[in-house]
């Protein structure tokens, strides 16, 4: 799980163009949206692409995505249970 969390942080940084941020800067349990990294609606859509591209997980329901993307921890949890890659 630790490896997944680290990989995920690196992928998020790259996919969302988070310059000047390292994996150490991202609190695994902090909110990703509004507070924390302050991601927005386009970032949420990019995370959906990331899930499919890296882990083969297709997220069709934007409503459900909110829960999954709450934090890096919730994302990693969902990925470990549903990954196809």
């Amino acid at each position: 799980m630790e490896t997944l969390i680290l990989d995920l942080k690196k992928q998020i940084i790259e996919a969302l163009n988070l310059e000047d941020i390292t994996p150490d800067d991202i609190d695994t349990n902090a909110p990703l949206f509004v507070e924390g990294l302050g991601l927005d609606s386009i970032d949420a859509l990019e995370l959906i692409v990331l899930m499919e591209k890296q882990y083969g997980i297709k997220l069709e329901d934007p409503g459900k995505s909110k829960e999954i993307f709450r934090s890096v921890a919730t994302m990693a949890d969902y990925i470990s249970k549903n990954r196809k890659k």
Partner: protein, 374 residues
């Protein structure tokens, strides 16, 4: 006064403004089931390529190869210019192209053999002017989905300032894989026909079309383009402002003190995305238009991008000419907080003013005011 002298629409509902308007009056939709580049079902409004080519070759008698957006653009402009009876080769005639992506499909065809400049919008505008042997540098307006309104505002200014005696405004965009894939990545497409302002709305349908208005200066009876303004939300590059800021200000500048009850209807942008339709409702209410009948044409034509501002203005003007308010196709169940007067039936009106609004990526919003003179 600045007036449209002739119109044309080339779309899935026909190749003349009259045919398109008649189809709208009959409640017809050009939106059909389709597949996105990944094979996922969507719905879009498609221009039959064979019919387009046939009509284009018959009307324009081309001596070289033209891409599909170019064919649609030239066919539409050519038919409108012929109907207007103006001299398109005159130095006193100007051309304005409105398009968001033009020949973007060429990016997916590396060996298209049409030259490296063919993808550029200025080149497309050049073909438009050249087809008519027009000596002036054509203008290209590209301002996301409001391009068609911005182009009309440019034409208005050109004519008011005496730069030209006639201006031909043509909008065109096609439903390329590029555009479809992009909107799919935004999860903003409805897999079925869209439902503007409806509680069950799920997103937009892409449409493809070309549309032309030939403007000139004239007094007397008929419709004039009175005023138009563009304002920015300064909020987000793809999401509309929660307060409808830019659209409200564009409307305020365009309507000024005009009593709101003199307005027959608003032809809204009404793309059927959750946020757009709600934002328009907020902006209309702030501008004192909460009782003004509203309809969207997106369920007939889809969202035709660079053509939308021109195409939807034409249908609106034809309705004004007939003294009617069109119903908003696709609307059944109220889905807007705060309420709006969404038109649900064809109704007669004596009122003399109409509004066309559009909003686009980049936070831009446009409002156009037309009036009829007896």
């Amino acid at each position: 006064m600045i007036k449209p002298l002739a119109y044309n629409i080339v779309s899935s509902l026909g190749f003349s403004a009259q045919d398109n308007y008649a189809a709208v009056r009959r409640g017809q939709s050009g939106i059909v089931p389709w597949l996105d580049p990944a094979g996922t079902p969507i719905a879009l409004s498609h221009l039959d390529r064979e019919k387009l080519q046939d009509a284009f070759e018959k009307q324009c008698k081309p001596s070289q190869k033209y891409t599909e957006p170019e064919q649609a653009m030239l066919l539409s402009a050519s038919l409108a210019v012929a109907e207007a009876g103006i001299n398109p080769a005159s130095v006193r005639t100007g051309f304005v192209l409105s398009s968001t992506k033009g020949n973007i499909e060429l990016l997916g065809i590396p060996d298209h053999g049409l030259g490296t400049e063919r993808i550029h919008l200025w080149h497309t505008a050049g073909l438009l002017a050249a087809h008519f042997n027009n000596p002036n540098l054509p203008l290209t307006v590209t301002n996301a989905c409001i391009s068609g309104a911005a182009a009309q505002i440019a034409a208005l200014k050109m004519l008011e300032n005496g730069l030209y005696d006639h201006v031909v405004v043509t909008g065109v965009d096609m439903a390329s894989d590029f555009i479809v894939a992009g909107f799919q990545s935004f999860k903003s497409l409805d897999p079925e026909r869209c439902r503007p302002f409806d509680a069950r709305r799920k997103g937009l349908n892409i449409g493809e079309a070309a549309a032309t208005i030939v403007f000139g200066k004239a007094d007397g009876k008929g419709i004039s383009l009175t005023r138009g303004n563009v304002r920015n939300d300064a909020n987000h590059i793809s999401g509309p402002s929660r307060t409808g800021e830019g659209l409200f200000r564009a409307l305020s500048r365009t309507l000024e003190d005009l009593p709101r009850d003199e307005i027959a209807f608003i032809c809204a942008h009404g793309t059927a995305t959750s946020f757009n339709d709600q934002m328009e409702a907020i902006a209309f209410t702030r501008a004192g238009l909460q009782h003004t009948p509203v309809f969207s044409l997106k369920a007939h034509f889809g969202h035709t991008m660079g053509a939308a501002g021109v195409l939807e203005s034409i249908i609106s003007m034809k309705a004004l000419e007939d003294g009617i308010i069109l119903p908003s196709l696709g609307y059944e169940e109220p889905g807007i907080e705060g309420g709006l007067n969404i038109s649900t039936a064809t109704v007669h009106t004596n009122k003399r003013y109409i509004i066309k609004t559009l909003s686009g990526f980049g936070g831009c919003n446009a409002a156009l005011l037309y009036q009829t003179h007896s």
